[in-house]
């Protein structure tokens, strides 16, 4: 199978859906001629024109609000927020309007839109350009939250998200855009709410999200040399969460380590941990472990940033603690 980058796969997904459905259009800052800060939308202006690939002012509230208004009339907008950090500017529209509009109108409205954004550290982007804020959205009923880690998943999930009648917060990672992986030429979808086992193993379950899936896989290779076979599970979407897949894996391995790049306190790892405690406690042979970022803003200096963000060594250490 051909290998393409995460960025290319994502772009293909957008392109295919725009060709398939004329209601789909893109709006965001610098996404047209410039192709987006991470070049995901490069070339789409040429194919689809300025009506459907719309540059906006730097106005996150207006961008997200416009997506909602258009969705209410049956369009399928894909709004880009350049950095997930900037979603804070648009939080009223996301949390109070988009997430609730169907419910508060008694089920009569559909906010069929996607907010594409990217987060994550690793490029010395500093406190305002490197956060992992997925939990904010997971905590808001009405939103769906996708966090793909591979080129295959990002393409399949963006297509499903655009077709979804529910609003999807689609969270990419700035350090995944150049990652390559197999992506079929023919069309496929990845359903929202379906986890994927990225590596099978019988001794411990590693549930990891976004870029941490790559680190968990590397850690798993190292652990295998020490005789520990780790199963790496990527939920791919956090809302809906594929609880069954996680529970099934934990029931097999008896041990669970959850790895994410968001800060540990109140992070989504706590939710996964609680689900497993409630539903599979008797299967556990060890306490559940969370490997997550330090409870700090994301610092600028590489040494500081590396210190707060989990890496393979942190994962390996966390796993080994469960094997006493």
């Amino acid at each position: 199978m051909r290998e393409i980058t995460y960025r290319e796969a994502l772009r293909e997904g957008l392109q295919e859906e725009m060709r398939r459905d004329e209601r789909v259009f893109l709006l965001g800052e610098d996404i047209a001629e410039f192709g987006g800060t991470y070049k995901v939308t490069e070339g789409l202006l040429a194919e689809f024109g300025p009506e459907r690939v719309r540059n906006t002012p730097i106005s996150e509230t207006a961008i997200v609000g416009a997506a909602l208004g258009a969705a209410l009339l049956g369009m399928r907008p894909v709004a880009e927020l350049m950095y997930i950090d900037f979603s804070a500017v648009a939080m009223d529209q996301i949390v109070n309007q988009i997430a609730k509009i169907r419910y508060m109108f008694g089920g009569k409205a559909k906010a069929s839109l996607v907010i594409r954004t990217q987060g994550g550290a690793g490029r010395s982007s500093g406190p305002h350009h490197a956060q992992s804020l997925e939990t904010w959205f997971c905590h808001t009923p009405g939103l769906m939250v996708a966090m793909p880690s591979t080129p295959y998943d990002v393409k399949g999930l963006i297509k499903s998200s655009i077709r979804s009648d529910n609003p999807v917060i689609f969270i990419e990672h700035k350090l995944l855009y150049n990652e390559k992986g197999p992506v079929p030429e023919e069309e496929y979808l990845v359903p929202i709410g379906k986890a994927d086992i990225k590596r099978e193993g019988g001794d411990v379950t590693l549930v990891a999200t976004s870029r941490m899936v790559l680190r968990a896989l590397k850690a798993a290779e190292a652990l295998a040399e020490d005789g520990i076979e780790a199963e790496v599970l990527d939920p791919r979407s956090l809302v809906p969460l594929d609880e069954d897949a996680i529970l099934q894996s934990v029931k097999k391995t008896g041990r669970l380590v959850i790895i994410h790049e968001a800060v540990k306190r109140g992070g989504y790892g706590a939710e996964i941990q609680a689900v497993v405690s409630e539903k599979a406690f008797d299967y556990l042979d060890a306490p559940i472990k969370r490997v997550a970022a330090a409870n700090t803003p994301v610092p600028f200096a590489p040494t500081l940033e590396n210190f707060v963000i989990p890496d393979e060594r942190d994962i390996i250490k966390g796993v080994k603690e469960l094997f006493g």
Binding site: F25, E51, R52, R54, T56, P57, S59, E60, T61, A62, I63, V64, G65, A66, A67, L68, G69, A70, A71, L72, L73, G74, M75, P77, D92, Q93, N96, Q97, I101, R102, Y103, M104, F105, G106, G107, K108, A109, K110, S112, P141, G142, M144, S164, D165, N166, G193, V239, P240
Partner: protein, 329 residues
């Protein structure tokens, strides 16, 4: 004051009927609330009926409208059913939102009512999106967005006006300037007496009108709507008006407003202004208008009875409508 010469008799009478419908609805809702029959809280728009009706009279049935937390009047003016509204105020299953939204969130997408929002200033960005959808589809529909003077100090308002301007969106921003943001008088929350001048910084027309004169509001909004339909882009229209009651039912509105001021505005009651015009112009006789009033009062009483007699939602229904396709988290 608009003289109403261009406006047909039928339309003028309709305007009266709609203003009366709002007034009686609001008065009855206040009464029911004070009797403890309605949960939550209510924002009455009594005194502002001419803005709602004048502006919505310039819209077609297939145009869109977004309202505010003080939205009963706007929504009635765009054609909403008062029984469904009243049932929602009663928190009943038969209400517009099945008891999930309440007074501040009544929507009827089939009538172009894209809802109302409880967050001041959050409507204009959404109105842009609706207008954008119309523009992309190449229809000549427009979206009208109501908000108060308080909203014009939010970043959301400014982002939205700017975006609407650069994209020439068919949207009409209608400010219901009732001179108070909750309890804060306009002079304390902004340095400018006329909000309409804010349009200038976005390169769009900004106009002021007597918001208690339904015909004047209609005429000015009508021009803005026609402009938007022709691709001329958005306008900002400031309607100077006044709410007769407090910010919410239970706030007497006396801590921050002088009695004389309220009385002066009550003399400019938009229903009286329009009634007088109809009589003066010979468009209607007293008994005609009384007949209209009587009909509306019966309609409102039927709506109240509908609300009172409707069933409560089943508790488990709280779990529905969070997502499309029945996903219950």
């Amino acid at each position: 004051m608009g003289k109403g010469k261009r406006v047909s008799k039928e339309k003028l009478i309709d305007m009266y009927r709609n203003m009366a419908r709002i007034r009686f609805f609001e008065e009855r809702a206040v009464e029911l609330f004070l009797q403890g029959q309605l949960p939550g809280f209510l924002h009455s728009s009594i005194g502002q009926e001419a803005v709602a009706v004048g502006a919505c009279s310039a819209l077609r049935d297939d145009d869109y409208m977004i309202s505010t937390h003080r939205g009963h009047g706007d929504i009635i003016a765009k054609g909403a059913r008062v029984d469904g509204m009243m049932a929602e105020l009663f928190a009943k299953k038969t209400g517009y939102c099945k008891g999930k939204g309440g007074s501040m969130h009544i929507a009827d997408l089939d009538l172009g009512i894209l809802g109302a929002t409880g967050i001041v200033g959050s409507g204009p960005p959404i109105a842009n999106g609706a207008a954008l959808a119309c523009q992309l589809r190449g229809t000549d529909q427009v979206c009208l967005c109501f908000f108060g003077d308080g909203a014009t100090n939010t970043g959301s308002f400014h982002e939205a006006l700017n975006l609407a301007a650069v994209w020439d969106l068919p949207v009409i921003f209608v400010c219901q300037n009732n001179l108070y943001a909750e309890s804060t008088p306009q002079a304390s929350h902004q340095k400018i007496p006329d909000i309409s001048i804010r349009a200038k910084s976005y390169g769009i027309p900004g106009l002021v009108v007597d918001g208690n004169d339904v015909v004047a509001v209609y005429e000015i909004v009508d021009r803005a709507v026609e402009r938007a339909r022709r691709g001329g882009g958005p306008s900002l229209i400031e309607c100077k008006t006044y709410r007769f009651l407090g910010h919410y039912v239970g706030d007497p509105g006396t801590a921050y407003r002088k009695k004389e001021e309220v009385e002066q505005w009550r003399e400019k009651d938009p229903l009286l202004v329009h009634r007088k015009r109809l009589l003066t112009m010979g468009m209607a006789a007293d008994e005609d208008l009384e007949k209209i009033d009587g009909g509306i009062q019966r309609e409102i009483e039927e709506a109240v009875a509908f609300g009172q007699s409707s069933p409560d939602p089943q508790p488990e229904e709280a779990l529905e409508d969070v997502y499309v396709n029945g996903y219950i988290p």
